[in-house]
Amino acid sequence: MNTTPLIEFRNITKRFGSHTVLENVNLQIYEGQVTTIIGLSGSGKSVLLKHIIGLLHPDEGTILFRGKPLNEMNKSEISSSLHQISYMFQGNALFDSLMVYDNIALPLMETTNLKKAEINRRVMARVEQTELTDAIHRYPSELSGGMQKRAALARALITDPQIVLFDEPTTGQDPVRKNAILSMIAQYQRKFNFTAIMVSHEIPDVYFISNRILALYDKSIVFQGTPEELGNFKHPFTDEVINSLEGLQKELTGLYSRRKFKVLNHAQLRRGQSDENYCVAVFTLSDIDAVNAVLGHDTAQEIIHAMGLYIDKHFGAIGGFSTRNKANEFVTVLPYSDMAEAEKIMNEFVEDFHERGISDIWAEAQKRAPSDKCVDFAIRAGIAEGQPVAEIDAIVISAKSQQKEIGRLRCAAKE
């Protein structure tokens, strides 16, 4: 990447008394991306984030904003730089004596000269986008954890910031809600095109929405790169942090994590004869953005959750193993199967899916996240034959190119 970083840390050191939290931290954050800072609890991730917004100042080193050091800027330049940034706190930091509407409107009321009607219009737009219409006249303490997060998100976005910092936005949420919040952040980031900087423990879920990952380990940044590059990163950080944070099975779907999936794949390749083939099936939930927009992020994540369970139930029974590859994509390996066998298995799956699969997924999603709205969505699947020497990622791409629709929820049929 040869563009000037939006934010750059050069040799930042921060101490609290005799305790050094950050030491010679160097990092770059680029405009328009979702950058996630990962690391163990207490490793200084939030401290790092607070340096960006100016709540903390470094003891040593320089922070550059669009290539210009903050310590060389005058007061108005610093102020205009910081005005582009918004911050969503780990504990939400909503004003508990103000109702949700007033919390969201506060930055506009206090920092702009907009008319009341215009403020109301903007607040209500954000309220609708974050599905808080029923909660505007309630106090934060009367809301669920997920609703409080959404209120904090709405407040962070009300001034249309160019940079939004998220400090552990999914803390204390259940797996579906965690993924719903991450999905919401990703959707808004695409929609409003802000730069998102997030601190999170949610490995591997954050990989699905992040362009870049920064790994904070032993007081400094030890990795900067894409989630895919992090997969090949060899460092004590990988063993101590990623393996401890990343479960063998994903919380949301109950499927194997990508790491475990790859280990299983290598194991089955080693066990098999060199001429034994296997097949890979890729399932994609199409129209995910429409599902998010119409049904909300919770229902969308429930559909993904139910879809993962359904795939695992069907293919797990015949020795297959699966993982969630992207936010709306699953990959299943069918060991010891050639293309003909895999197609037969897939035809049986499609038949079953037509008969009851899609309606079961919808029913499961409705159980936990009831919605009176409906939207058409489809599930596509494709298979490809794998070779022992071929990389799984290449086979996945091949399987994706073969995808066709295997089921569609039609709202008219459900109503």
Partner: protein, 283 residues
């Protein structure tokens, strides 16, 4: 401190204290405390000046009105209650004391001057400290520990302008008004006990007030009320705002201690400053 602790040990490490340390330690302790107090005093003064300066920024008026309602209007009942009984007991005690010298005619003057010059401003300040001052410290303190004040920073809303300035301004407006209410109700209390219960002539009571209370007594009382307002509001806001800097505790416990500290400090400072201001006004 660690260095001092180590230096108490003899080089041989036999645990015996070096004699010169007994001489140095008290001065070191006093010096440390005095420097600490001067630091706090300096910070609190800057805190007050910044808060007052930011009163004159736009969008402050509704916030000041809301705080006047909270600090002032909501305290009226308790002020009336305390004022009435203070006046009544003052009338009762003074009547018996004055009757021994045959000077019950001076009851009105004694009650009114005591209330207007001393008891009105002091008791009003103490009552508001107990009712609103403690609430201010707790509210601002909770906003600090729950990162609401940090959130204001990140929203580019000045916490001084949003939280502190309206409270101090509202206190400066509310204290003299509540003092006036206290004085008025207290004089009525004196009338109830002196005239209605003990039989003093109503004309004598009111004439005594008319003849002895002049404008300076009233303005002196209001000057004291303004001084007390500045002290109470600054101490209470300061304790809440800097609750996270406390070294003796953290979190909810720190808010509790800050509230106690705010009330005790405010009351002591009200009484100390009462003496100082009275001395200055009598010169």
């Amino acid at each position: 401190m660690a260095e001092n602790g180590n230096s108490r040990q003899s080089p041989e490490g036999n645990g015996k204290c070096r004699p010169e340390m007994f001489l140095v330690q008290p001065f070191s302790f006093i010096g440390e405390k005095v420097i600490g107090w001067i630091n706090v005093l300096g910070t609190a003064t800057i805190f007050l000046v910044m808060a007052l300066w930011k009163t004159f920024r736009p969008k402050q008026f509704p916030k000041v009105i809301a705080q006047i309602y909270y600090i002032g209007a909501s305290s009226t009942t308790i002020i009336i209650l305390v004022g009435l009984f203070t006046g009544m007991v003052l009338g009762l005690q003074s009547y018996h004391a004055l009757s021994q010298f045959g000077a019950v005619g001076g009851l009105g003057a004694l009650v009114s001057l005591s209330l207007i010059r001393e008891l009105g401003p002091v008791l009003t300040a103490i009552m508001i400290t107990a009712r609103a001052g403690s609430a201010i410290t707790a509210e601002v303190g909770i906003q600090r520990i729950s990162e609401q004040i940090d959130a204001l920073h990140t929203m580019h809303v000045d916490p001084f302008r949003y939280l502190i300035s309206p409270r101090i301004t509202a206190a400066i407006i509310s204290f003299p008004l509540l003092t006036a209410v206290f004085d008025f109700v207290g004089i009525i209390g004196g009338y109830i006990s002196g005239v209605m219960l003990l039989g003093l002539n109503a004309g004598v009571y009111s004439h005594s007030i008319n003849a002895n209370v002049d404008m300076k007594d009233l303005t002196d009382g209001f000057i004291k009320a303004i001084v007390f307002a500045i002290i109470v509001a600054t101490v209470c806001c300061y304790q809440g705002y800097f609750v996270h800097m406390r070294t003796d505790s953290h979190g909810a416990k720190a808010v509790g201690l800050a509230t106690t500290s705010a009330v005790v400090t405010s009351c002591v400072l009200v009484l100390v400053s009462d003496y100082v201001v009275t001395s200055m006004l009598l010169i």
